[in-house]
């Protein structure tokens, strides 16, 4: 069968046609409700996608992630609470617009920003991923080892205010990944005599436990009141508004794409950069903070611009750039696929079908955004007390489903408690997950590199590619450490009592 018909065969699956629009819709609804995060949604729904075709399963998760990025803007605009961390900047101008009776205009502005950002991001994915995968074919074990180390360092550096805590999180994740039978020597590691642990710590309970349960546990621990949402009015995003915000949207999308493609940076950081740039250069910059459309457009185009861009290192090199792509990497492995240069070599129709479906998902954001506009206020106002018990049941069923054992369910709750504790200790959970996911890859490449070099550790740092990657790791560590040192000095000079 030729390439095109294989692509069409992938795309013509009835499950894909039915479930992709629903996944985008589900993502939007989840993103719109404060307290429900896209990570939680993707993690909780991952087990149910494993029974589907690989392409459908992966695209459902991507669709949820995409939808939730726009969904986050809904509660930001209507309730002054970002539905997702990436919508933090949308609040600054979206809510003032809603309070001035222009909620509809702000939502439509966010929608167009998201749509254009997302489309350009997919274009970047199509243009760059294939090229990067070709480049990745030159990578041997030591280059992959260096790349994984670099990714972990970037993620650790950017995920929290402290680099050592971030790296400790990554190390803890790698440690969790070593549990089970050592594949080379067939000796058990940290199994404590448990038969269930011989296969290692199950990925899904760890994922759901660390990313879905802590929010639920913290909700029941505190007495947070649900907020009221502003009503949606009849104001519209006009052609003049579109012309006004288009340059900002294009700039924001570019920022999102560039920052999304670098492992570890992600949507939240890119929105702050795009917002700051728009505040400097947008035509309505004097309105920033009081209800500037460009503020909403910059934030939304930047966060949606990251979405497909984060898939670039994942698809091309097999390295996840954020938590969602780490979950996607897990989903790929569950389906027996290994993202990276080999996927481009062996299953190009899969990749091309994915590109087309990603474009379609972008159009679904626009479609659902307009169709759902009048329902956004009640959706954002659903009380969390009514939502969390069903999510909990979904977590239990999901954790149980894959292994058919209650061990997975108990493990999930254990990681849920651990997730709350880690938040108290300010150790970032994303670094743990990414360390866990990359653990076997890191160890495998290290072992292979040492075997090739006959045990010469210095060989890991030889060759232009490996050396460049290690140099980048060192530069990141030094930069972050220097900034932290400077910050602490400024803090000491500024106030004798450090921040509480």
């Amino acid at each position: 069968m030729d390439h095109l018909s294989l692509v069409l065969q992938h795309l013509s699956q009835i499950e894909l046609i039915l479930l992709l629009p629903l996944a985008v819709l589900a993502g939007m609804v989840i993103g719109a409700i404060p307290g429900l995060t896209s990570t939680m949604a993707v993690g909780v729904l991952l087990p149910f996608t494993l029974f589907l075709d690989p392409l459908v399963g992966v695209l459902i998760l991507v669709g949820i992630g995409k939808g939730s990025l726009f969904g986050g803007s809904i509660s930001a605009i209507l309730m002054n609470v970002p539905g997702t961390p990436a919508a933090a900047c949308t609040v600054l101008d979206g809510y003032p617009l809603a309070r001035n009776g222009q909620a509809g205009r702000a939502i439509e502005c966010a929608l167009w920003g998201s749509f254009i950002g997302d489309m350009l991001s997919v274009v970047a994915l199509v243009l760059v991923a294939g090229w990067l995968a070709k480049f990745g074919q030159q990578f041997g074990p030591k280059e992959f080892f260096a790349l994984i180390l670099l990714s972990l360092m970037v993620i650790a550096a950017l995920s929290q205010d402290s680099l050592p805590r971030g790296i400790c999180g990554g190390l803890f994740g790698i440690l969790l990944g070593t549990v089970g039978l050592d594949l080379v020597n067939a000796t058990p590691r940290f199994t404590f005599g448990s038969l269930e642990l011989t296969d290692g710590i199950p990925f899904l309970p760890l994922l759901i436990g660390l990313f879905a349960l802590p929010d639920i546990i913290e909700h029941y621990m505190s007495k947070v009141q649900d907020l009221k949402a502003q009503p949606i009015d009849r104001s519209r995003f006009s052609k003049a508004d579109f012309r006004l915000t288009l340059p900002t949207i294009l700039k924001g999308s570019t920022v999102g794409i560039v920052m999304g493609a670098i492992p570890g940076i992600g949507a939240t950081a890119s929105t702050f950069v795009a917002y700051a740039e728009a505040k400097r250069s947008a035509p309505d910059r004097d309105q920033f903070g009081k209800g500037a459309l460009s503020g909403v457009a910059a934030a939304e185009s930047a966060n949606s611009g990251t979405k497909a861009a984060t898939l670039i290192p994942l698809l091309a090199l097999g390295v996840p750039g954020d938590v969602i792509t780490a979950i996607l990497l897990g989903a790929f492995y569950f389906h027996g696929l290994a993202p990276g240069p080999l996927l481009f070599q062996n299953d190009l129709p899969f990749i091309h079908a994915m590109y087309i479906a990603l474009f379609c998902a972008g159009f679904f954001i626009l479609l659902w955004g307009y169709l759902l506009k009048r329902w956004m206020t009640p959706i954002a106002s659903v009380p969390r007390d009514m939502l969390y018990p069903p999510i909990m049941l979904l977590c239990i069923v999901g954790a149980y489903a894959l292994s058919n054992s209650m061990f997975a369910v108990y493990t999930m709750f254990l990681f849920g408690i651990m997730g709350v504790l880690l938040r108290r200790l300010r150790i970032p959970a994303p670094t743990i997950l990414i360390g866990f996911v990359l653990s076997s890859l890191l160890e495998d490449n290290l072992r292979r590199a040492l075997l090739i070099s006959r045990g010469d550790v210095l060989d890991l740092f030889s060759g232009p590619l490996a050396l460049t990657l290690h140099a980048a790791t060192v530069i990141i560590v030094v930069t972050v450490a220097w900034r932290a040192l400077r910050r602490s000095r400024v803090g000491k000079v500024g106030s004798p009592v450090a921040q509480e």
Partner: protein, 156 residues
């Protein structure tokens, strides 16, 4: 005041303790060395040892620098601890009865108990939500997708 500074340094201290625990107890006790190792290849203890040293060095560095910086954190006592324990108890009972009554029926009762019992929502919407969600879960995941969930020994 020092207690609050120690709380701020708790992340680093935990990493340090975990690293020491790994190096002194967990690795020797729970990672056996194989009888023969492939030449030039690191053994099964290599990565855990690197991790342990990493945790010790970074944990100590983090703990000391945070403590010296004078940063203070006070952990607040959770306001809804009673509610959390009630929810935890409901979940525990649900998990214990699941093998007998099945996951979906036990889950429906769990949802009602949490929404109306622990969260004080009205009973009728809670029951309706639980029934609709439980039914949808059964229809989509068990009947359509064929995902196995425990059926319950009571029903045969």
């Amino acid at each position: 005041m020092n207690a609050e500074r120690l709380t701020a340094a708790a992340g680093g201290l935990s990493a340090l303790v975990l690293g020491l625990l790994l190096l002194l107890f967990l690795i020797p006790a729970y990672v056996p060395e194989p009888a023969a190792l492939a030449p030039n290849a690191p053994g099964p203890r290599a990565i855990p040892k690197i991790i342990a040293w990493g945790l010790i060095i970074l944990g100590a560095f983090e703990a000391v620098t945070t403590f010296m910086s004078g940063e203070r954190i006070r952990w607040k006592r959770p306001e809804g601890l009673g509610r959390l324990f009630l929810v935890g108890g409901i979940i525990l009972v649900t998990l214990l009865v699941t093998p007998y009554v099945g996951m979906i029926p036990a889950g429906i009762v769990m949802m009602v108990a949490i929404t109306s019992g622990a969260s004080g929502q009205r009973l009728v919407p809670s029951v309706l939500t639980a029934l609709v969600f439980g039914g949808a879960l059964y229809l989509v995941f068990v009947l359509l997708a064929g995902i196995p969930v425990p059926g319950g020994s009571l029903w045969g």
